[in-house]
């Protein structure tokens, strides 16, 4: 345990090594929030009517909720894994008696802790300024379900991200493109990061709800907002668990193949 606590600490220190970069990254975050917020605010400001079952209050709640979830689920350090592999820096860790996955999960947690800490302050300030309608969930049973769905979201994202990153073993030059395509485009789109998924036609929504991405952002938020029945929460958690197992298994397989292909480059 000490091992992983130390990894957490060093990783945390590392984030602060470039203070100006860090500051700019936070500024970017705030601007991003403002852009998304004002986009939806403008769409709904001229009319009191609802689009696709969303009125102004609901959509702003959704957007704000997604922002908070994004800080928890999508903040990660394991995006560096592809670079570690193609530069050969993976070598350093392979030579140490430490589990590579646990190492990066630990660093992810450290990155999340940092992100959550700062986001909390930023989001609070923005809340005071923009005053979006918020929804506070009071039912403890729902809150527990939300927590479970959140844990699965974090685990699922870690496994998906790792799988995308270790493509680098087989095509070190193309890893960045793969990462961009998966994380920035596919994942954001399918997880509800860009728009609420339930504005989609029924059959499309059905398909989406069986994909793993659905359980990263959209599902936990719906659970929190109390929009999902007990039965559907249960079903959703089972599906998320199923995906987690399948993808973890795939990850281990691909990882082993990758290590055989690894050339420990950089001399």
């Amino acid at each position: 345990m000490r091992k992983y606590w130390q990894i957490f600490k060093v990783s945390f220190n590392q984030e602060f090594a470039y203070r100006f970069n860090f500051l700019m990254w936070r500024v970017r975050n705030v601007i991003q929030i403002l852009v998304i917020f004002s986009f939806w605010n403008t769409i709904f400001s001229n009319s009191s009517q609802a689009f696709f079952g969303y009125d102004r209050a609901k959509i702003l709640t959704y957007v704000f909720g997604i922002l908070i979830l994004r800080a928890i689920v999508l903040s990660s350090r394991a995006v560096d894994v592809a670079g570690e592999i193609s530069s050969g820096n993976l070598t350093n860790l392979l030579l140490k008696p430490v589990n590579y996955f646990k190492y990066w999960f630990c660093r992810d947690i450290s990155s999340k802790a940092l992100n959550i800490g700062f986001s909390a302050v930023e989001i609070f300030l923005l809340y005071l300024w923009l005053k979006p309608p918020l929804y506070f969930q009071g039912d403890p049973l729902v809150l527990i379900s939300f927590l479970v769905s959140l844990i699965f979201a974090v685990l699922l994202f870690f496994v998906i991200l790792f799988l995308v990153n270790i493509i680098s073993f087989f095509m070190p030059e193309n890893a960045w493109a793969a990462q961009f395509l998966f994380i920035v485009i596919i994942l954001e789109f399918f997880s509800g990061g860009i728009f609420p998924l339930d504005i989609l036609p029924e059959f499309l929504f059905k398909i989406f709800s069986y994909l793993p991405f659905y359980y990263l952002l959209f599902f936990p938020l719906q659970v929190y907002l109390g929009k999902v029945s007990q039965f559907l929460i249960f079903k959703g958690i089972i599906i998320a668990f199923f995906w987690f197992m399948v993808l973890s298994f795939a990850l281990l397989k691909v990882w082993r193949l990758g290590l055989k292909a690894y050339n420990a480059e950089g001399r």
């Binding site: 030579l95 050339n263 001399r267």
Partner: protein
């Protein structure tokens, strides 16, 4: 004595994608890559006893680094047997990794933006060292390598030589019994090189650690290793005593003279075999035993600005090893 490293008929092949020049050819190779198989190691066999310090020499691309990477479990061998301390390195068991260390001259494990002490703390946790063992080891290494006042400076602000010394501290903090060193002195100045070589020799004696040291430069091995393995194009060209290798194949030294003035170049031929004349530089090949006398003679009779005595390039020695066909002379 116990065999620490056992290698038998080890081969390693790499599949390389061949890149073509030009945009269109590059595009076609994206979809239809041309692959080529490169044999980096070709059925090499050797063994190393406990506490031995072995020099592994050969030109760039000979297969030295590949061998070390296989021994430390980073690369999967294509065929053959590899055993270190009774372990199969490829499995990378924690018990194995705690007993070895790989130091690469051009690769760093220290966290670039943080002081070295942070990496050392992390290593202490990763290797599960007790506070006592850690502090004892740290104190000893810090003193031997003289890095006391460098521990708290962010690594990126250190010079290459300082960094390399700290890399050694990080690589040895868990007191490994087998050490693989891949060109640990590359890029360093002569003084720093000597420091590190002396340290390694001392470390080998103190802890009785088994060590393999690679280099493409024979000077690096001289005075450190008694036994050398010469490797070229994936094959072992020589395995035996360094003194034997030198007596047999490196009988001559290279004397480089830098003249301050023009002179009668023919007179050089009386002293030794003239290898090259490119004013102001003259390169002579002179038998090892008489190199010192010849140097004195040159200094006396020629307008010399500078003079150096060097070992012959490893490539030349290896060529001779192959030509004379003496393979694997016993120790």
């Amino acid at each position: 004595m116990e065999k620490v490293v056992l290698v038998d008929k080890l081969s390693k092949e790499f599949v390389v994608n061949v890149k073509k020049e030009g945009f269109l050819a590059g595009l076609s190779s994206l979809f239809n890559p041309t692959r080529k198989i490169v044999r980096a190691l070709d059925e090499i066999s050797f063994s190393i006893d406990e506490g031995e310090l072995v020099g592994f020499i050969g030109p760039n691309g000979a297969g030295k680094t590949t061998t070390l990477k296989i021994l430390s479990g980073l690369l999967y061998p294509s065929s053959g047997l590899v055993q270190v301390l009774g372990f199969d390195p490829w499995q990378r068991k924690a018990d194995y990794l705690k007993k070895i260390s790989l130091v690469m001259g051009q690769k760093n494990q220290l966290w670039w933006d943080l002081p070295a002490i942070d990496t050392l703390d992390l290593n202490r946790a990763i290797y599960e060292l007790s506070k006592r063992d850690y502090e004892k080891s740290l104190r000893e290494l810090v003193e031997l390598l003289d890095v006391e006042n460098l521990l708290n400076i962010p690594v990126r602000r250190l010079s290459l030589g300082q960094r390399m010394r700290l890399e050694l501290v990080a690589a040895l903090i868990h007191n490994p019994s087998v050490l693989f060193l891949d060109e640990p002195t590359i890029g360093l100045d002569i003084l720093a090189q000597t420091k590190i070589r002396e340290f390694l020799l001392d470390y080998n004696r103190r802890r009785g650690a088994t060590m393999i040291l690679t280099s493409h430069n024979m000077d690096d091995i001289l005075g450190v290793a008694k036994r050398v393995i010469v490797i070229n194009r994936g094959k072992i060209a020589f395995d035996g005593k360094l003194s034997f290798l030198i007596e047999t194949f490196a009988k001559k030294k290279l004397v480089k003279v830098y003249l301050s003035d023009s002179t009668d170049f023919k007179k050089f031929e009386e002293i030794g075999k003239v290898k090259k004349i490119d004013f102001p530089e003259v390169v002579l090949l002179i038998p090892r035993e008489t190199a010192a006398i010849a140097t004195a003679e040159i200094l006396q009779n020629f307008p010399v600005a500078d003079i150096t005595i060097e070992e012959e390039p490893i490539e030349d020695v290896i060529k001779r090893v192959f030509k004379e066909g003496v393979l694997r002379k016993s120790k």
